[in-house]
């Protein structure tokens, strides 16, 4: 495989430089803390429950791109595909704490869990209350009875949307934790990999997949999925993935959902729209109503080819939080009329 061509300066400063660019793109809505790769909102009111997200860089706009109004209050950013060291979430915690506790929300990966846990212990020693919820929406990564071991993938977007909305409008950390746990229970994702992305520092692919094969359920770093197969049509592939996704929760006739078709990087909007067409037909067949749709590259792995489908089953509370307007560099949303 040819090495990927990337528009870079210093391969060792990729994370630093992308954050500098992100802060500028935020036009004052986010600032970087001195000395650590953490982004925070500068305008947090006293008494607000704070939401801290984070993880390895290289999956933009994920995490640091989702800091903004009714989204995350801060993001602790690691190097490319690597967890941040604990001083990053710790410094971010101190910067966003407004006296009412901090929720840590991040994907369920070993390195992130260890480093955020250390930060939580350091914050607790300062008298800051921290609660942790790990995102585990990838149905391919463990069976339903071990759902808490699953990886976090594109469901990150909906988790941050719901937790961010709750942290902006609910008075206590306990209430924010309660509804964020409810979101965990109601969000499911499944992806498919067509080709690997590459590691920016080296240009090497993150995994190897034969040219004529795809893998349903493969993780964004090449974690194994549920099996390799030959390429097939958009309709057949979408049906195969939705079947597995719907059976997992399970989603039932009469459910109302948000639908996210997420590009893993190089899969185009054109392809995602064709997948969306197939998904909507299948959901309608099952009597499942789509309340809202999000389509685009939100949780990526460089130029990885493939997409994921995420469903969030709604109740009145989740619907209200989803419908709140949001304003971050990586995700903007107008409020629903009348909401």
């Amino acid at each position: 495989m040819n090495k990927a061509r990337k528009i870079l300066n210093d391969p060792l400063r990729v994370a630093d430089e992308l954050l500098e660019g992100l802060v500028l793109a935020g036009d004052g809505k986010v600032v970087k803390l001195p000395g650590v790769n953490a982004l925070v909102r500068p305008d947090l009111p006293e008494g607000k429950v704070a939401l801290l997200v984070g993880g390895g860089s290289g999956h933009e706009p994920l995490f640091h791109g989702f800091v903004g109004k009714n989204m995350a209050d801060g993001a602790a950013c690691g190097d490319i595909f690597a967890a941040p060291s604990p001083d990053v979430p710790y410094e971010a915690t101190k910067a966003i704490h407004r006296g009412n506790g901090v929720l840590y929300l991040y994907g369920n990966y070993a390195g992130d869990a260890m480093n955020f846990d250390i930060a939580a212990e350091m914050a607790a020693a300062d008298g800051i209350r921290v609660e942790t919820i790990r995102i585990c929406d990838d149905v391919a990564s463990a069976p339903p009875e071990r759902a808490s071991e699953r990886r976090g993938i594109a469901g990150d977007l909906y988790m941050i949307k719901i937790a961010g909305g709750a942290a902006a409008t609910y008075p206590t950390l306990d209430e924010v934790v309660r509804v964020t746990r409810k979101a965990v229970d109601n969000i499911r994702s499944l992806g498919v990999a067509l080709a690997a992305g590459s590691i920016p520092q080296t240009g090497e692919p993150t995994f190897l997949l034969p040219d004529d094969e795809i893998e349903i359920g493969m993780g964004v770093h090449g974690e194994p999925g549920v099996g390799r197969q030959k390429m097939t049509s958009a309709d057949a592939l979408t049906a195969q993935m939705l079947e597995r996704l719907l059976a997992d929760l399970p989603f039932k006739q009469g459910d109302s959902v948000c639908l996210l078709v997420n590009s893993l990087g190089s899969t185009t909007m054109m392809e995602c729209l064709i997948v969306n067409r197939a998904a909507r037909a299948l959901l309608a067949e099952r009597g499942i109503t789509v309340h809202a749709t999000d389509i685009g590259p939100y949780v990526t792995c460089q130029e990885m080819a493939g997409f994921s489908i995420t469903l969030m089953r709604l109740d009145d509370e989740l619907r209200r939080l989803y419908d709140l307007p949001a304003d971050s560099v990586g995700y903007r949303k107008m409020g629903k009329a009348g909401a």
């Binding site: 060291s85 590691i199 770093h221």
Partner: protein, 217 residues
């Protein structure tokens, strides 16, 4: 074995840790290749960044045994990055809490490894057999304690060498294990045949400390 070599004061411990850091730095390429085989290839770079920072931090560190070990832990935690930083940082931070301000002797070394092991397992939920550094650290801690008991009070040097040998044997055994935690679990069966990079680093650390014991102060 001369009596002054049965224990290290804080300054001798600093020199031994510098020696261990040098060994890890000289093997950066080995660690990188080992991690490229079953991980994402950044373990060597991270450990080199961390132990260079340790060497820079040690001279100015307060000269007590717990403070020296804590400084190493804090530095690794902040500078290595990823999972390795959290784990090796926790090893030294937890270990530093188990030792007294008295010179670092065989009993102190055994306690350091036992408390470090407990801290690492609590942090990462790794059990023996999961193909992690625990597979080198757990036998090293057990062997340090066994050596201490067998000889009715072995010297620090005997315990260091026994622990380093046990870590090396444990590291070799990780070749036959399938990774179930962390990034290497990506590979499943494909991780067979390769030693765990963290177990290699753990072994190098103990070999470096044991090697320091053989040198004149």
């Amino acid at each position: 074995m001369s009596p002054e070599k049965d224990a290290w004061d804080a300054e001798a411990l600093k020199r031994a840790l510098e020696r261990a850091a040098d060994l890890i730095l000289s093997e950066t390429e080995t660690l990188t290749r080992a991690d490229q085989a079953i991980g994402d290839g950044d373990h060597g770079i991270g450990m080199a960044r961390g132990f260079n920072a340790v060497k820079a931090a040690l001279p100015a560190c307060e000269p007590t045994v717990p403070a020296v070990l804590e400084t190493v832990g804090r530095t690794l935690m902040l500078k290595v990055g990823g999972s390795s930083g959290a784990i090796f940082g926790t090893l030294f931070m937890a270990g530093s809490k188990a030792v007294s301000e008295a010179p670092f002797d065989a009993e102190g070394f055994a306690r350091f490894l036992e408390a470090g092991l407990e801290g690492v397992q609590k942090r990462g939920n790794a059990r023996p057999g999961d193909k992690t550094l625990v597979d080198a650290l757990a036998p090293a801690a057990a062997e340090a304690r066994a050596t201490l008991h067998q000889n009715g009070g072995a010297s620090l040097g005997q315990c260091l060498h026994a622990a380093a040998r046990a870590a090396g044997d444990g590291m070799e055994r990780t070749r036959g294990m399938v990774a179930t935690l962390g990034r290497a679990k990506t590979l499943g069966e494909r991780s067979l045949g390769h030693p765990d990079p963290g177990a290699i680093s753990m072994t190098l650390l103990l070999r470096g400390l044991a090697g320091a014991m053989n040198e004149a102060p």
